[in-house]
Structure formats: structure tokens, C-alpha cells
Amino acid sequence: MERMTKFLAWLSAGILLLILVLMVQDIFVNSLRHFDFSFLSQDPLSGGRKGGIFPIIISTLLILGVCMIVIVPMGLGTALFLSEYSDEHPKVVHIVRKALEILSGVPSIVFGLFGNALFCVFLGFGFSIWSGGLTLAIMSMPLFIRTVEEGIRTIPKNYRLVPLSLGLGRTTTIRSIIIPYALPFVIVGGVLSIGRSLAETAALIFTSGYVDRMPESLSDSGRALSIHIYDLTMNVPGGDTNAYKTAMVLIVLIFITNGLFTIVLKTWYKKRIIL
């Protein structure tokens, strides 16, 4: 039994590591063979078979930007509400928690349908960066809120008692003590949400759209990196090489956000130990 368990544990770990290495290696080897940094600065040509992905990177960043602008204030506000007002409004807090739980389970394609129906059609934004960013914001909200709220909950009990004992009002306590304390978690949550949003495809197909030109404004359609990969592999015969390169760019971006996450977490821990 002991040997069996040990064997299976090592086996599954080995398989998983092997597949990850194969996958990343395949993508890197196949794209580095033809990679050239002009790929990042050129416009796509003939449906993406030739040329680069410059407008696609810009569209992706714009979509992320819209998403973050919405998510940071609203997510922080909700996290504060959940952690600070659970005594006064237990029912509302309960409802919000349930809603977040459901929201985090809703499939991304359903977010895509919803975003299409609400933002593109009902509100008349059409296929646009606005629609895509707002849809992504709703989708990544639960992850962001959970990260920030868990952070706020680590606040020492004394930091709550002292302001009360000094007769500080709620607003002052939240503004001067809770929010500064929560800031590192806002950064961590933001980085996590960026990672989640970068990885998203299905929610964007029918909201931010397919257009691979440089968007002129936020009301223009813009193609995200993940959609570009999908389109090149499924709809553009002969797009494989550029699909590989785009996949590598996307993976590198994901690695960077992952690394950022670790760095933020570590520097923050160091700081907290001194404080």
C-alpha cells in the first residue's frame, strides 16, 4: 500500500510535469524558429498568416484597461462592504456572497452571450472594446473581490478596536486604516484578474469582436490575443506559424503576470514583517 501510494503520487506528478514541459516546449520551439521582434510591431496581413500582431496587443491592453478601471474601485468597494458591514447588513452580505459564488461558476461563454445581449445590443455599444472590457470586468470580479476581502480579513483585531476606542468615525477608519492596509491585496487581486482576463476567449468573441485592425477608439471592435490564436488555428488555413508565435506571446505574458504576483506577494510579506 505504501509503495503503491508513493508510486502513484510520483507517477501523476511526473506525468503532469512532462505534459507541461512538452506543451510549453512545443509552443516555444515552434514559434522561436520563425520569431522576429518585428512580429510585435507589425500589422497582421492576409488574415493573420503574415505580418505581426501589433494592433492585437494594443486591443488586448485596451480591453484589460477598461476591465481594470471598472474592477478596482467596484471590487474594492464590494470587498469593504463584505468585510466591514457584515454585522449591520447580514442579509445583504449573504445575498452578495451567494451572487459572487454563482458569478464565479458561470461559464465564460454565457458571459459572452450576456455581454452581447446587454452591452452590444441592448445598450448599443456594438462589438467594441467597451463591451469586451465590461464583460470581462463582471467575469473577473469574484476573483478580485475574494482576494481583497481575504486580505482585509487578516487585519489585526486591534486595528479595529483602537479606532473605536478613540471615537473615530467609520469613514475615517475605513479611509485612513482599512484601505491603506488593503492596498497590497488590491495589487495582488489586480494582477490575478489581469491573468484571468488575458486567458479569456469565449467571453470576448461576441463582445469585443474579431476585427484585427488597430482600434481607433474604445467604441471600435478589437481582437484579443486569445481570439487571434483561435481564429488562426480554426478559421485561417496556413495560420499555424503565426498562431504558434501568438501563443508564445500570450504564455510569456501569463508568465510575467504570474511572476509579478509572486514578487508583489513576497515584497509585501517582507514589509508586513517590519511593520
Binding site: K6, L16, V96, E101, I102, G105, V110, A199
Partner: protein, 287 residues
């Protein structure tokens, strides 16, 4: 006056935060309302036809969704069957068998799996896995390909969930078990895992939910042919893939039918979450 202004300030903050908090609940409501609203025409027009039509020929007004529901269920259950042992044993590996310096990097590997975009999984599956399966039995794009890729995508949910649960129970019992001269495996199989039955089921339900909602990877590797599969080498089309494929050109009744499949998905996930929630509450009640 001073008292009044102070109270006002606090009151404003409280209202703003409450309304802001309610936004998430409103979002869930809006999702439900909009997806339902858009699918009403189809429900009205077709009703039970969704389950008794000849097949899915949207341009001819035939909307049988059963093959796709079956596709979704087969592919996600298959993925769950593969992912459960993978998740369980990798969690056991990290928590008990990886020596100190190995545990952390391997944990990062699992987290990386969780963070990789589904389109990357689909892309790699299409480029490498599908040709391999094609050599065994054409066409390669198949239920099996979907199961394999999905299993890789959902096992981290099980691993990370279990690891989070291993830690507190291990703190309590592991030393005792070792001090009694138990072997690690005895401890794992006869003390730890039985005490975590509920959490394991909960994690599996979450993973199943994720698998059912997954779109891009299955869309890219499953072949997307609307047919009841007869073997795991048959191509299938899932509900999610169907939406992604046809939304671009769907009009009127067809578009509405796609929203209806979205609604089915939404409700399926809703039920799953409620069940997972029930399991968890059942467990906390026991304690």
C-alpha cells in the same frame, strides 16, 4: 451640526458601499434576465421541439439539443473521471511525498496549469494530441481528445482544493498518526481521506462545473459534429462549442435558440453550485 455632518458622512459611505456591493447580485440577476429574455422567443416558438426535433439543423428550423447535451455530459464526466485521481494523487504528492524543496515548485506547476488560457490547451491539443489520436483511429478530433485536454484543465481545481483541506486536518492528526508508528499511506487512506469525503466531493463538483462550462479547448479538439457519439473516438459537439461556432451568423429564432442553450448551461451550473454548497453545509453541520 458637527454631529449631524459626521453622521451624514458615515451614512453616505454606508449607502455607497451597500449599493456597490449589491452590484454583484444585480449582475447575476441581469445575466439571468438577459439570457432568458433572449431565449424566450425560441422557447415560445419551439417548446419541447428542442428535445424531439430530428436533429440540429438551425437553418431549416430543426433544433434538437439532446446530442449536444449528451456531448457536454460525456466529455465533462470523462474529464472528471481522469482528473479526479490525477488531482488526488498530485495533492498527495505535494503534501506528503515531495521533499521540501520539490513541493513548492510543483505547486507552481499546478497553479500554472490553472492559469494557462484554455485557448492554449485547445491549440496544443489540436496541433499535437489530435494528430496522435488520428494515427490510432481517425479522425482524431474526438470525444477522447476533449476528455484528455479537459482533464488537464480541471485537475488543478481538485488539487488546490484538496491541499487547502489537507493542511488543517494534517496539523491535528499527522503527528499523532506518526507517533503511533503508522505509515504515511495508512494515515492518508484510513484517516485523512475518509475525514475529507465531503470536501473531495465538493471539489469534484466544482471541477465538473468548470468542465461543463469550458468552451475553447473542446471547441478546438472535439470535431464539432452534431451526433450522438457511439464511441470515444467519435467527434462530438458540446453546448458551449455550439454557441461559439454559430453565434457569429445566427439570426432571429436561431440566435434565440443559442441563448436557450446558454440558459440550459447557466441553470446546470447553478444546480451544481447549489449541490456543492449543500455538501459543504452538510459537512459543517456534522462538525
Amino acid at each position: 451640526m458637527y454631529q449631524l455632518t459626521k453622521k451624514n458622512k458615515d451614512f453616505i459611505l454606508e449607502s455607497v458601499l451597500t449599493i456597490n456591493g449589491l452590484f454583484s447580485a444585480i449582475a447575476v440577476g441581469l445575466i439571468f434576465i438577459f439570457v432568458t429574455r433572449e431565449s424566450l422567443p425560441a422557447i415560445h416558438l419551439k417548446g419541447w421541439a428542442f428535445f424531439i426535433d430530428k436533429s440540429w439543423y438551425p437553418l431549416e428550423g430543426q433544433f434538437n439539443v439532446l446530442p449536444m447535451i449528451a456531448g457536454t455530459i460525456f466529455v465533462s464526466l470523462g474529464a472528471l473521471i481522469l482528473a479526479s485521481p490525477l488531482g488526488l494523487f498530485s495533492a498527495i504528492f505535494i503534501s506528503f511525498y515531495a521533499h521540501g524543496s520539490l513541493a513548492w515548485p510543483f505547486r507552481r506547476v499546478v497553479e500554472l496549469y490553472a492559469g494557462l488560457p484554455s485557448v492554449i490547451f485547445g491549440f496544443w491539443g489540436l496541433m499535437k494530441l489530435v494528430p496522435m489520436l488520428n494515427e490510432i483511429r481517425p479522425p482524431g478530433q474526438s470525444l477522447l481528445a476533449g476528455i484528455l485536454i479537459l482533464a488537464l484543465m480541471i485537475f488543478p481545481i481538485i488539487t488546490l482544493n484538496l491541499m487547502a483541506n489537507f493542511r488543517p486536518s494534517s496539523k491535528k492528526y499527522y503527528r499523532v498518526a506518526l507517533s503511533l508508528g503508522m505509515r504515511k499511506s495508512t494515515y492518508i487512506w484510513s484517516i485523512l481521506l475518509p475525514s475529507l469525503k465531503q470536501q473531495i466531493v465538493g471539489a469534484m463538483i466544482l471541477a465538473l462545473g468548470r468542465a461543463m462550462g469550458e468552451t475553447m479547448a473542446v471547441l478546438m479538439v472535439c470535431g464539432n459534429i452534431v451526433k450522438m457519439p457511439t464511441s470515444i473516438f467519435d467527434p462530438i459537439r458540446t453546448l458551449t462549442a455550439n454557441i461559439a461556432l454559430e453565434m457569429a451568423y445566427a439570426m432571429n429564432e436561431h440566435r434565440s435558440a443559442l441563448f436557450f442553450t446558454g440558459l440550459i448551461l447557466f441553470l446546470l451550473i447553478f444546480v451544481l453550485i447549489s449541490v456543492a454548497d449543500f455538501w459543504r453545509r452538510h459537512e459543517s453541520w456534522k462538525e
